[in-house]
């Protein structure tokens, strides 16, 4: 707060970092975002004259894993982001203040930066019971979000809960949870989905916004730089899929050889995220590399897709297949037999009618018919 006029470059210098370090930071971030080399220069020029923006981080129906993830970002790190790029004015988990002091600090920060701050929302918003399922400082989450959104320059929904409703939104959704975009409908929301999102994706999106403004988004409102490709298409196990080599169980030869996990329910083919390229923990690994299929956590409704261990091509419904299809077969037999009986009856009636019209006695039962 009160640091709106300090630019990002100023903050670097104040921290004892050189302009060279600043340029290296821009180059690394541009590389992370898969931007062309010229973009690093543009990013440096923009950030050098951009005042550090105030960031308000609001948490609703969430588990804090998104923030836990963000604190593990290595490029840029969360410390770097907080001390150099942004002014984190409110985050009820990271900040020292609590209770009324925290709320007062938030109101003051929002008042000072009204219309300019970045609003990061973490968690779904419960609409049921008038929003009573999530209330802080006497205000429901939905009212809090509507108010905060009015003064925001940009709204970033981090995590699948904020982006698509996530686990609170899963059936039967007892709290009437909705994603941020269903509350804020009059302006774009940048969705940074994932359960949790990749830390570098979260911090990278913030830096991108500071440098270039609104990023290009996909049809789900996610930055294309990170969500442009499916996990499957970038997966190092993809060649095994093409060769038809699959792990059938988690401890068979295929699993030990690192073959494709499609049969074990991997949702990589329909999941868009950067897990297979950026990976986690400083590029160490990602779930598929650890031997578990992708859950599809960055996609809407991933919790209600019929089961994490059901192959993508299998049916989602848990209906009793044997009983239902057996009943269908029985129904077919009954209808078929009935139709055949009707045909026999119609045949006899027609024969009798023809005989009557011809004036001859009705035909006798054909002893040879079977």
């Amino acid at each position: 707060m009160g640091e709106l006029e300090e630019t990002v470059l100023d903050a670097f210098r104040r921290g004892g970092l050189s302009r060279r370090a600043f340029l290296k930071f821009c180059a690394a971030t541009a590389s992370l975002l898969a931007l062309p080399p010229a973009a690093a220069t543009a990013m440096a020029e923009t950030l050098a004259r951009t005042p550090r923006p105030t960031v308000i981080y609001l948490s609703y129906q969430e588990c804090t894993a998104c923030l836990e993830s963000m604190t593990r970002s290595f490029s840029p790190t969360i410390e770097h982001l907080i001390f150099n790029n942004i002014s984190l004015a409110f985050n009820d988990t990271l900040q020292a203040a609590a209770g009324e002091a925290a709320e007062a600090a938030r109101k003051e920060a929002m008042r000072q930066a009204w219309g300019k701050y970045i609003l990061i929302v973490d968690g779904a918003v419960p609409m049921g019971a008038g929003g009573a399922y999530c209330v802080a400082a006497g205000q429901s989450a939905v009212d809090d979000l509507r108010h905060a959104a009015q003064g925001a320059a940009a709204i970033i929904a981090v995590g699948t809960c904020a982006a698509f409703g996530g686990i609170p939104y899963a059936a039967p959704n007892p709290t009437g949870a909705v994603p941020v975009s269903e509350v804020i409908r009059d302006r774009p929301v940048i969705n940074v989905s994932g359960c949790p999102p990749i830390p570098e994706v979260m911090t990278g999106v913030v830096v991108y916004y500071l440098s270039f403004g609104m990023p290009a988004l996909d049809h789900q409102g996610r930055p294309l730089a990170f969500y442009g490709n499916s996990i499957h298409d970038r997966c190092y196990r993809r060649p095994f899929y093409d060769e038809g080599r699959f792990a059938h169980t988690f401890d068979d030869e295929g699993a030990r050889n690192g073959w494709c996990l499609y049969e074990l329910g991997c949702k990589g083919p329909v999941t868009y995220n950067a897990c297979a390229t950026l990976k986690w923990n400083q590029g160490t690994s990602f779930p598929i590399q650890s031997g578990h299929g992708c859950l599809g956590c960055s996609e809407p409704d991933f919790w209600d897709k019929g089961g994490f261990y059901r192959p993508l091509s299998a049916a989602t419904g848990h209906w009793p297949r044997g009983e239902v299809l057996g009943a269908a077969a029985l129904g077919g037999v009954v209808v078929g037999a009935g139709m055949a009986a009707l045909a026999r009856s119609h045949q006899k009636t027609s024969a009798a009618k023809t005989a009557k019209e011809a004036g001859s006695p009705p035909p006798k039962e054909d002893p040879h018919e079977r």
């Binding site: 038809g244 499609y262 329909v270 078929g336 079977r370």
Partner: protein, 221 residues
């Protein structure tokens, strides 16, 4: 949330369930309905001891044209075989298909590499196009073709095309194309019992009964 995801969910959920129910119901309806129809007993003296063996033989002998017809139709027979074998390889060889069959029936077998499947699908698609061209250009075949022939062709062609498009990400996002692929295949399953596509099941019975009847009368089959 997204229409595309919902399309795939719909295809994997209620649409698949409905298609399977219609398929099973329809096949049993048609099969029992035809088999239980009144037939006049053949009073002639049987020329062979076991006419049913002639029925079994006919199932196989009808798989290839008779010598006198070969010059005229052998090449189209070959194209038809390419299509049927290609389609069978695609349906029974692709691992996602096997997993779906396993999910429904519990039966499973090893799959084939995607390169083989792609080749088979391409061959089936090209042969289907050739067969359609033959149908619309041949004067007699065109005269005896009706809606069933063309619609059934479309319902076989569409899943093959959308399946290849989904695999190669041509013309849309994978989940959209996969949803369309599954829905088109489900439409095919629901249409199958009530159309000429029912020959998938009925050819055994029609050939068998014809072979048995003619065998009983002493005809060479």
């Amino acid at each position: 949330m997204s229409a595309e995801t919902n399309l795939l969910d719909f295809a994997r959920g209620p649409a698949l369930e409905a298609a399977l129910i219609i398929l099973v119901f329809g096949i049993f309806w048609r099969l029992v309905g035809v088999l239980a129809l009144p037939r006049t007993r053949d009073l002639s003296e049987p020329r062979v001891r076991h006419a049913w063996l002639g029925g079994v033989k006919t199932i196989f002998t009808r798989m290839w044209p008779r010598r006198e017809f070969r010059p005229r139709i052998l090449h189209w027979e070959a194209v038809s075989y390419i299509f049927h074998i290609g389609l069978a390889v695609v349906i029974l060889g692709l691992v996602p298909h096997i997993l779906l069959i396993r999910d429904i029936t519990g039966l499973s077998w090893p799959g084939l590499p995607d390169g083989v499947i792609t080749f088979a699908a391409g061959a089936a698609l090209i042969s289907l196009l050739a067969l359609l061209a033959h149908r619309v250009t041949h004067p007699v075949l065109r005269q005896i073709s009706n809606f069933d022939d063309y619609f059934s062709w479309l319902l076989v062609f569409t899943p093959l095309l959308t399946g290849l498009m989904a695999y190669y990400h041509l013309g849309g996002r994978y989940e959209d194309l996969l949803g369309l692929h599954m829905l088109s295949a489900e439409l095919l399953l629901a249409w199958l019992p009530f159309s000429k596509l029912a020959h998938t099941v009925f050819f055994l019975f029609s050939r068998g009964v014809t072979g048995a009847v003619y065998s009983r009368r002493g005809a060479r089959i």
